[in-house]
Symmetry: C2
Subunit: 439 residues, 2 copies
């Protein structure tokens, strides 16, 4: 006999975990689609040369890479961005630009599982390719905002920044060629404080104290978005790129305000950088106010050239990625996930062995009203069936013996309160709907 087990770092999803996962994916799809993002899919396996070197040395090491039976060097995708780049380069003519896509799919990385990471997880990305228009940065922000509302959050903050403002400031200060070192130091601002960050900048770049003061003054700008934006504009004044970044930030903030995004949900945060190379314009991170320790649950930004490794066509774009697994963990901690292990609301007890056709008809009647119904498959003792209903998390049980059926009735049992009422069969859907409305 073979021991049934999963690989290290891989997970089974049982119904109680899979039901909220599917709901979250559904919500993301619904929101993405409502803005005209179209679904795509790409293969799990790609030629290794397509994936290699796109995610950095660590990602290369973590790839599930092998030779297939035809001797091809292949690897499992480790994200959805590299496949998107390959996809857009390959199909650009057919796709046409601008191109808006979402892609919700599994990716694989041989992560160190001791850090509580999984080797198989799902990504949930949306991007607008083929335009530099700030309208797409604005829309990306609106999508993220609507997404979190649709999931059921009200306490969240979208942090927004623009890579051009810091780059512009550093250019202006004559530190443009030291940007990476400055960013690396600034990344530690929250952890070690401004004084130590300043010391590190001096140590690594040889900056003057006036330069350091300007950088730190910028990085610690605080107050309302308008106040920070004014500070940013002042800091970058005279540098074309920096001014462009400030104007872009202003455009996003004002459009989102006009669209009704509350001021406390969109926060200008000049401290976020999101990696050093990839993003070139707007940057996003999203935090749950009640659980900010979990980190950003939806991140992204604007990039200048998506697919430069595969095509000469310059493909700028902007997008973000919902951190599905992290978000589900957060929702569980916040008590936002239901516990049911069934997607159906009602269980029809198989009470009288001779009455299966009646139970099937009752189930069909209720199902027609849009309520999910399971018929217990065996005429076992009622107690056992109710125990099953409880274990699965059904909200309602429908119980009828031949007497009830002869009278055209059925017992509708509220499994939360334990109470039952006799209901005419035709009225059963409405009776269940009332209980469901109660919660």
């Amino acid at each position: 006999m073979i021991e049934p087990r999963t690989l290290k770092g891989f997970r089974d999803f049982l119904p109680a975990a899979m039901i909220p996962r599917e709901r979250l994916i559904d919500t993301a799809r619904r929101v993405y689609r409502s803005y005209g993002f179209a679904p795509i899919d790409t293969p799990a396996l790609e030629y290794t040369e397509i994936l290699l070197g796109k995610g950095g040395a660590e990602t290369d090491k973590q790839m599930f890479r092998f030779h297939d039976s035809g001797g091809r060097d292949v690897a499992m995708r480790f994200d959805l961005t590299v496949p998107l780049a390959r996809f857009v380069a390959q199909h650009a003519a057919e796709l046409g630009m601008p191109f808006k896509r979402y892609h919700i799919a599994t990716v694989w990385r041989g992560e160190n599982t001791q850090r509580g990471r999984y080797r198989e997880f799902m990504q949930c990305d949306f991007d607008t390719i083929g335009t530099r228009s700030i309208a797409s940065d604005i829309e990306t922000t609106l999508v993220v905002h609507e997404l979190f509302l649709a999931i059921g959050f009200t306490d969240f903050e979208i942090h927004i920044n623009n890579r051009k403002v810091l780059t512009g400031l550093l250019d202006k200060l004559g530190l443009g060629d030291k940007a990476t070192l400055v960013l690396r130091a600034l990344d530690k601002l929250a952890k070690i404080g401004a004084a130590k960050v300043g010391e590190e900048i001096v140590a690594t770049t040889g900056a003057t104290s006036a330069q350091v003061d300007a950088v730190l003054g910028f990085a610690t700008l605080a107050g309302t978005n308008d106040a920070i934006l004014d500070g940013v504009a002042k800091a970058v004044a005279g540098n074309a790129r920096g001014e462009e970044g400030a104007a872009d930030l202003r455009a996003v903030l004002s459009a989102c305000a006009a669209a009704g995004v509350p001021a406390d949900r969109l926060k200008l945060d000049v401290a976020i950088a999101r990696g050093l190379d990839y993003y070139t314009g707007t940057i996003y991170e999203t935090f749950l106010t009640k659980l900010s320790s979990i980190g950003s649950v939806c991140s992204g930004g604007r990039y200048d050239n998506l697919a430069g490794l595969y095509t000469k066509q310059e493909l700028p774009g902007v997008g973000a990625s919902l951190g599905l697994d992290r978000l589900l963990t957060a929702m569980e901690e916040l008590g936002m996930l239901p516990k049911a292990a069934t997607p159906a609301e009602a269980l029809v007890a198989y009470f009288d062995a001779e009455r299966l056709h009646d139970y099937l008809a009752l189930a069909a009647l209720v199902r027609k009203s849009g309520i999910g119904v399971e018929v217990y498959p065996e005429p076992k003792k009622l107690g056992q069936q109710l125990k099953y209903a409880d274990h699965r998390g059904f909200r309602v049980a429908l119980i009828a013996g031949s007497n009830e059926l002869a009278a055209g009735q059925c017992q509708v049992k509220d499994l939360k309160s334990g109470t039952s009422e006799a209901v005419a069969l035709a009225d059963v859907p409405a009776a269940i709907a009332r209980l469901l409305a109660e919660g």
Copy 2:
């Protein structure tokens, strides 16, 4: 520069192909869930020992198998049945029985692509585990019936059989130990005719002509379901297993009739066998009447013991699998697939460069009514935006310059007829809904 390409046998799904694929998956999920089937997922990769030898020698050869960086012998799943067996064996206590699950996921097989097959495809399975009750076989039939109606088919036939009737007949005839050879010959009935099948049975089993006549008479039973069922009952009379099979068929047919499944959609077909070993009771195949040449698009059956390789617990079950890719091919041939490459219905033209906030507000208004809307991201020439709308397959374009907006209006352009009408902004959702209702 790296050539952007996909591996042989692997496919990209562009939006026009992915949109109907997602819709089909949605429909299947909705139907499965309405009967209380719960979603699960399992890893793409399993220990090779879990998968090996479960799908036969050819499947073993076709596996994508390799050693991971930890030296583990791993392979990508080639179906969803073997992972289900492993899953149920591993989690039986937590799951509880009966257990009803659906699983919609990608599987991989290194098929010979010259036969027009893909190496990556999706399976879409539902099963009821842990009960021998015929109620579950009945429900499986009802689910398949409802599934095809929900997808949009009316012309389809579910073929049903029960392995026990032929096995019972062969036992009764004293050919029980030759069942495999007889089945193999009967499989060719449609192709080579009864006479040649008879010759093969004689040649391979040494059966007498009376035995062959009995087998062929049984396999060619025709007429109404009732007539065939009577013939079956007569043929197996006196053999317990055969009688059980006939009773099971009768129970399924009568329950489905009582549930309103039209007689011409459920056909008792004693010729189907579906492989030689796995299934032990009811068997299903589903054919599209207008495209029967494509073969069965939904198949399945009852099995005695799902997970005997991983657990001593006997786990009987019944289920079926929707042939997603085959069905999509059929739907395309039958002209059932829309051509749109966008999930949104309306495109808001970005007409006046200064009016982005108004366009975003208009889009939000329409979106609130449940209609998907894309805002073109750049204030380009209207002709270019309309060409884009046409290329993507939007149904409606919303066009407003500052004059229209000042008058609180917008042009609603029907992209099918080419006509436009000026509509008050508040009435735009209703105007679009009217056009959508037209088709």
